[in-house]
Structures are given as C-alpha cells and as structure tokens.
C-alpha cells in the first residue's frame, strides 16, 4: 500500500487538546523518519503557533510528507497579530517572540493569505542532519 503523503485534521484550539495535537504531530514525524530532536522541534513550533492563535474555535492542521521533510500548514487562523508578528522582517536581537522561536526550530516558515482575511502559517521542517 502506498504511504499517504498528506494528513489533515481539525482540532479545538482549547489548551486541553494541546497534548493530543502533540501526540499526533509526533506520530506523523515518526512516519517521516524524523529523529527525536527534529520531531521535538516541529511539535514545539506547532504548539507555540496554536498558543498564539487563541483558544476559541477549531484549527485545521495539514501535513505533507515530502522526500526531505514535512510541510505543515496551520490555519485558516483569525489571529492577524500572528501574521504581523511573522512578517515583521526587522531583526530584533534578543527578543524571544514567535518569530524568533519559529526561525530557530523550523527550517523556514511563511504566511499565506486565506479567504476572509484569514491566514495560514506554513512551516517547513527538514528531516534533519546527522550531528
């Protein structure tokens, strides 16, 4: 049976579901042969993003298993503040905001515009290199 290359699901933004989302992200990373560290990075990226997205309603998460890693899309999100925070290209040394966290734990990220002024955050995480 061919391996599925895309997994999508919707989860409540409520904090209580955080561990469930982590578990699923971990399972997907495992299928993509991620090492512990790369998996942990992706889990942290998704977790921080969801925390910033508030706690009301649901969020859609989709994961594309690519040859060299996983492309994750989170959204549509209503939180415009996330887009502004992530598109702000000014280098702010010493700050520990979402931008700083994402740029540390994923290989690249971007903001895509969705309908109704919503945004989708795209995260690219490569499988990782040997230490």
């Amino acid at each position: 049976m061919p391996e599925p290359d895309q997994i999508s699901f919707e989860a409540p933004l409520e904090a209580a579901f955080g561990p469930v989302v982590r578990l699923i992200v971990g399972g997907i990373a495992e299928r993509a042969d991620f090492g512990f560290e790369a998996m942990d990075d992706l889990q942290l990226a998704v977790e921080r993003l969801l925390v910033e997205a508030g706690s009301d309603g649901n969020v859609k998460l989709s994961f594309e298993l690519r040859g060299d890693g996983i492309r994750t899309r989170v959204g549509p999100l209503r939180e415009r503040g996330i887009a502004e925070a992530l598109q702000d290209s000014e280098d702010k040394p010493g700050t520990l905001d979402l931008q700083r966290i994402l740029s540390t734990v994923v290989d690249s990220y971007g903001v895509e515009q969705a309908a109704d002024g919503h945004i989708v955050v795209r995260l690219e995480k490569l499988r990782g290199v040997a230490l």
Binding site: G26, G35, E37
Partner: protein, 251 residues
C-alpha cells in the same frame, strides 16, 4: 447515648493525647508509630473516596499516611481538638495535592510510566552511539515497544500545567546548576525588555540560560543537554515549560 461507648471514646482520646505527649515532649518515635497505626483505618476510609481514579488504592493510602504523619508532627498539644478531627483535612489535602500534581498522568498505565522513566537515558545513549538524534523507531526498538507507545510515554508527565514561574517542579526542584550563565546577558537586553523581561526574569536562572542557548545561540538540544548536564528530554521539557510560563505571564 451509651455511656460505655462514650467513655470508650474518651479513653481512646486520652490514649491519643498520651501518645502525642510522649512523641512531642519526649521524642518517643514509637509513640508516633503507634499513633499512625491507630489512625490508619481513618486514612484508609478517606483514601477509598479517591479510589477508581486510575491510582491503586494502596498508593492513595500511602499518600494519605503522609498527611497523617504531618498532622501528628504539627499537632499542638495545647489545642482542645482530637487528633482524628485535626488529621482529616491534612490527609484529604495530601491526597488531593497528589492527584493535582500528577495531573493527567495519573490515568496513564504503569507500563507507560515505567517506559517514560527509561526514555531519557535511552535517547541520550542512542544519540551518543549513533552520532545523531535517534528516530522514534530506533528508540522503540531499544525499549522493545511500538513507536506509538514511545510517543505516548514521552507525553507522560510532560504536561506543563503544574509549572509555576516561582516554584520548581519535580525533578527540576533541586538546581545544582544555578551558577551557569550570567545575570545580565541575552534576552534581558532586548528592545521588548519591558514586556518580556519580567516574565523571563521570573524564570529560574538555569531555564533562562537554556532559552538563551537555544534561541539566541541557536544551539541544538543535544549540545545544550551536554553543557548543562541534563538529558535531552529534560532540556526539551524545560524549554516548553518556560515558554508556556512566560506566555501565561504575558496574558
């Protein structure tokens, strides 16, 4: 009302007071042991109220017994109160605290908790022998488990809800690494220091230093773990908990 019964109760109370006096005034440990034994039926009956929540009854009784011992230790002989009355809220409080501290992990099967205990060492050992971060499959093979079991076990006890900015939790409580890092370095110099600094400053110094290494120096977890002498899993948890605690602080 039977007078015999009443006098029996009075005798019990007097016997308790005598034992409490021997323990508190003379330091007679055997008196304390006797008090614990006499009041274990009370602990057992209180513990039974909390049975069926995923924790073996004996374990709840053990926790309750700690509450009893604390009550015996704190008992003030001057007070006109019987030990059972004084001990009850202590026992219940101890049991409740136990459940609260364990969070959702209390429903996790023992096998997963045991696997979690072995996980840190397994990851560090495999990282060192493979020269890279091990995959979940490799960790699973080493622990003779399925990848899903490994992922589940990793989540055991990783809930960050119990973290408070001021109170260290569990294995983080003892902090021999307070000395690493320098006070006025890194994020505290940020432009957003007015917003961020108070939350960051309230973190223990070790956590601040780990955040600095990870997000300012960009060091991988493996290297941070090596430098601060903790397991990778522990570093990962401290990072998550610290970020969460800081976020809660900003809200």
């Amino acid at each position: 009302m039977s007078t015999a019964k009443e006098s029996g109760r009075l005798q019990l109370r007097d016997a308790d007071r005598e034992l409490l006096r021997r323990y508190h005034e003379l330091g007679d440990e055997s008196a304390r042991d006797a008090l614990v034994e006499r009041h274990m039926p009370l602990v057992r009956s209180l513990a039974r109220r909390y049975a069926g929540r995923g924790e073996p009854l004996e374990d709840i009784e053990q926790v309750g017994a700690i509450g009893l011992i604390k009550a015996i230790d704190r008992f003030d002989l001057e007070r006109e109160v019987v030990l059972a009355t004084y001990a009850t809220p202590n026992v219940v409080g101890e049991i409740k605290r136990h459940f609260r501290d364990k969070g959702w992990a209390i429903r996790v099967p023992r096998a997963l908790q045991e696997m979690n205990a072995k996980m840190s060492a397994t990851i560090d050992r495999l990282t060192s022998t493979l020269g890279r971060s091990p995959s979940i499959g490799e960790i699973a093979e080493s622990l003779q488990a399925t990848p899903e079991e490994v992922l589940e076990a990793m989540e055991v006890g990783s809930a960050y809800t119990t973290l408070s900015l001021s109170a260290p939790v569990g294995e983080d409580a003892a902090d021999p690494l307070e000395v690493i890092g320098k006070e006025d370095e890194g994020f505290e110099h940020s432009e957003d220091r007015e917003v961020l600094a108070p939350a960051l400053a309230r973190l223990p110094q070790r956590e601040r230093e780990i955040l600095r290494m990870r997000f300012e120096e960009g060091l991988p977890q493996t290297q941070i773990a090596e430098q601060v002498g903790l397991s990778q899993m522990h570093v990962s948890r401290l990072i998550r908990r610290s970020l969460m605690a800081m976020r809660e602080e900003l809200d």
